[in-house]
Amino acid sequence: MTAEVLDQENRDGERKWRRRSLWSLLLLIPLALAVEAYDSVKALLGNNDLFARRVVWGQSAQFGGSDWKLTDLRGAFGMSNLPPDSVPVLADFQVKIGDPNLQNLWLGCKIVLIDKDGRRWSPTSIVSLKATGNVQTCISAIFSGAKSGDTLNLRETFLVPKEATKSIRPAVSVASERPHFLLFQLEKD
């Protein structure tokens, strides 16, 4: 074997590895980006309600370790001192507690109304209607000390413009289930 042949072989080997390295970049760069972005994507998904799980009227759905059921959605007409063309809307839920660790599972609990254009109404503090019986809000229920098997009645009050009342649907989300959330359908749907 002469030196020339050895040299040629070395050069071929070098070229082969060089090519392999370049091709591997195609895989490595997207992989590095994915690893870098993992935490950000996780935070983004964990902070947003993105994917709706539709719940048919009258049915209950397992969510955040408990069974959620929409029992009523109605407007409270005839109140004074409200902005023009606005209606207070009450959403009532019945929740059968499964896993009683609400302080973890229901953390960041949000109940909103969503209309056909995707606009979202959070509960209001402008209107406060007196509730009869043992009615709680989502946040107060977290600290109620409810045990497994208990049934809680939750109610949230919203202020919605009249034009939107036809298409609003209640939605429930908790941090432990995001980016998924429950979207309750009404009887007429």
Partner: protein
């Protein structure tokens, strides 16, 4: 020789380029600062989460307010500026809570904290489709009134979020040093 000169020139260009990059590098505080949405009084300024429409600006020497059924007169060492604005939420319910008045020299005046008991001030809770009016009340030095900018945002740290910046334009000064049209007394108990 030519080659060496060319190399030196290239080196100098590289040094100048790096220096330019260093000098023009934005500071962290600028990078994460609020994103301005600019406008004038009468415009509807649209931010990410809210809209604001500044309707009128009034100046007064004193304000009268109702506190627990009693009328109280609030004086100031400068002049009171009262901005009436209409706010609206966009795609979801929000709260607009921060406003300040940036004078022509850059001095920034936060809303007064002396009327915290009064209704109709910020923070104002907004629901989509239901615009609401609110008052922004400032205590100002008279020389900071003209050519000022009104800054309004949802949260105190408006990092990477919209901040409405409304240019208020020139205001003439009367003989007493206060803005022209300054009234002696403005009644804050009046409905918006």
């Amino acid at each position: 020789m030519m080659r060496r000169l060319a190399n030196i020139a290239l080196l100098l260009v590289a040094v100048a380029f790096c220096y330019g990059l260093q000098v023009s590098k934005p500071h962290y505080g600028d990078l994460i600062g609020p994103i301005p949405a600019r406008g004038k009084p009468g415009d509807t300024v649209v931010g990410r989460g809210f809209e604001i429409h500044a309707e009128k600006i009034e100046f007064a020497r004193k304000l009268t307010v109702d506190q627990y059924g009693q009328t109280k007169i609030l004086t100031t060492g400068g002049v009171w500026a009262v901005v009436t604005a209409e706010f609206a939420a966009r795609a979801q319910s929000t709260v607009v809570s921060v406003a300040s008045w940036r004078g022509p020299t850059g001095l920034t005046y936060d809303q007064t904290e002396r009327l915290s008991f009064m209704n109709g001030l910020l923070p104002v809770a907004l629901d989509p489709g239901l615009p609401r009016k609110a008052r922004l009340i400032f205590e100002l030095r008279p020389d900071e009134v003209s050519n000022a900018t009104l800054l309004v945002s949802e949260k105190l740290v408006a990092a990477l979020d919209s901040q409405a910046e409304i240019s208020l334009g020139p205001v003439t000064t009367a003989a007493d040093g206060l803005p022209t049209g300054t009234v002696d007394m403005l009644d804050m108990a009046q409905p918006l």
